[in-house]
């Protein structure tokens, strides 16, 4: 009817573009939030080994923040454009309807001309709004270029920091891991042994049916890790005994006094080499204590 389209725009496609931009902004905000958490107290990056990586990524986070601002501006421009375009298209639709009303009426030429002029003016506004939209995208492009220029070696720096961190971790593992794993195993064993207490007091029924009558010794004997406890206790006492018990020197040659006292109580004869030969021979008892003496 007008012979031209002063407000070309596809609102549906603008909705799609707006949604896509909104999702990108949300993803950026989430990423920036996660990156800004690095290095704070409680983070594994809060320490000399992780700090270089955290610093690099926080710097990257600041750049993402600039990109995020440009994207938000862009999104705002798209939303403004869509809203304006819809209003202008509605106004054009009214103009088209008015032009259709006066079509063929010879006395309304001036009115038709004014309507077409108004449509052209709307077209100019539309083009101006489009230029603003294009400018927002130009600024977005500039923000991306700035990131690229500012951090052309981000990948390289990250690589070097990661290699250093990996080496530090490997060194730590080589020195500390065996003992750490021994501690972890010990904890598991002690936990298993402590669990037996619950069964002793009747709370748990490890490996048996609840209510089944089982003696205390059976419970301990069948508990997970019980043989390790027994072994450990034996080892423990072997370690303790030599240091804790008085050393036998047999330096007092008291004519078999000890042997006699023992023989008074039970039929075991003790032979201490180098002592009174009057003491009965050990062989006669079938056993005894043999000391090396002096």
């Amino acid at each position: 009817m007008l012979g031209f389209d002063p407000t070309p725009s596809d609102p549906q496609r603008l909705v799609v573009l707006s949604d896509a931009l909104r999702k990108i902004v949300q993803a950026l905000v989430q990423s920036r939030t996660e990156l800004s958490r690095m290095g704070r107290t409680g983070s594994v990056w809060d320490g000399p080994a992780g700090a270089p990586i955290a610093t690099l990524l926080r710097r990257y986070s600041l750049q993402l923040s600039a990109l995020e601002e440009s994207l938000v501006d862009c999104l705002q421009a798209v939303d403004n454009w869509r809203e304006g375009a819809e209003q202008r298209q509605a106004q054009i639709a009214n103009i088209v309807a008015a032009v259709a009303d006066v079509a063929g009426d010879a006395g309304t030429e001036d009115r038709r001309t004014r309507l077409i002029a108004a449509a052209r003016e709307l077209g100019v506004d539309h083009d101006r709004a489009a230029a603003d939209l294009a400018l927002a995208f130009d600024e977005l492009s500039g923000a991306v270029e700035q990131i690229i220029r500012a951090d052309d070696d981000l990948a390289g720096e990250l690589h070097r920091a990661l290699v250093a961190l990996t080496a530090a971790i490997d060194d730590w593992i080589a020195a500390e891991a065996p003992e750490l794993l021994r501690t972890a195993i010990a904890l598991g064993e002690v936990a298993g042994l402590t669990t037996v207490i619950s069964e002793l007091v009747g709370i748990a029924a490890l490996g048996r049916n609840p209510g089944e009558a089982v003696g205390v010794s059976d419970i301990i004997a069948r508990s997970p890790g019980s043989h390790r406890l027994i072994k450990a206790l034996r080892r423990q006492w072997l370690d303790v005994a030599p240091a804790a018990l008085p050393e036998a020197t047999f330096s007092h040659r008291q004519s078999g006094g000890l042997a006699r006292r023992l023989s008074d109580r039970r039929p075991v004869h003790v032979e201490v080499a180098g002592t009174d030969s009057a003491a009965p021979p050990a062989a006669a008892s079938g056993g005894g204590l043999l000391g090396s003496g002096e």
Binding site: T41, G42, S43, V44, W45, D46, G47, P48, A49, G50, L165, A168, I169, W172, I173, A175, E176, A177, E179, L180, L181, T183, A184, I185, A186, L187, G188, V190, A191, G192, L193, T194, T195, V196, I197, S198, L200, V201, I203, A204, L206, G207, V216, S217, D218, I219, I220, A221, R222, S223, P224, G225, S226, H227, L229, I230, A232, L233, Q236
Partner: protein
């Protein structure tokens, strides 16, 4: 219940690690002084409400055996709970060790421990977490008992356990906590509890009562 673990030498000036543990957990007495330990063992027997002499004797002997077993090494405490959950009896064990890390860099200790635990293969899952202000490693394992694990050769119960390693701020030490239970249906309760206990870790310069 606040459980305190001594860092370094046992002096009043030495800092301690404090953990908040629910009062349902009964600590196995591990004091080095025999008299103190025996008194604590008797107190525990009273708390447990055991009246059967055989049960009391067996538990007493078992407690003493555990104390002897733990008299050296890095395991500094063990406690058990015997509670009712959703109408059924339930039990779990909390075990604590202090482990030297050779670094005050908590991040390095956590990343190193996580990688070591993964390479070891003992754990089904190993994760790095932030527990409040503490970076930590968690490792979960299920240990089905096998014939030969018990002295009688019988198959016992399956125990599920989670270990948490929390580096101690400002010290070249880490607290390692393990929660273990044969009550697999209650696992979520105990897992949450363990993480809460680990989250509560604090270093205090005062000298409260401590395990050992």
């Amino acid at each position: 219940m606040r459980v305190a673990l001594q860092i370094g030498h046992r002096t009043r000036a030495a800092p301690v690690i404090v953990l908040d543990v629910p009062p349902d957990f009964h600590q196995v007495p591990l004091q080095t002084e025999t008299e103190t330990r025996t008194a604590s063992q008797l107190q525990l027997l009273e708390v447990m409400g055991l009246s059967d002499p055989a049960q009391r004797e067996a538990l007493s002997l078992y407690l003493e055996a555990l104390a002897v077993r733990l008299s050296d090494g890095t395991v500094v405490g063990t406690a058990f709970c015997a509670v009712e959950l959703d109408g059924h009896p339930s039990t779990a064990t909390l075990t604590v060790a202090l482990h030297p890390t050779a670094t005050a860099d908590r991040g390095l200790a956590v990343m190193g421990a996580a990688e070591a635990m993964r390479r070891d293969g003992r754990y089904a899952t190993v994760d790095i977490r932030e527990l409040g202000v503490h970076p930590a490693v968690t490792g979960m394992a299920e240990r089905p008992s096998v014939p030969g694990d018990a002295a009688s050769g019988e198959v016992g119960a399956t125990l599920r356990e989670m270990s948490v390693l929390v580096p101690v701020p400002g010290h070249e030490q880490a607290a390692m906590l393990t929660m273990s239970t044969p009550c697999l249906e209650d696992w979520e309760v105990y897992e949450t509890l363990l993480l809460d206990i680990a989250r509560s870790l604090q270093v205090q310069q005062t000298h409260p009562d401590f395990i050992r």
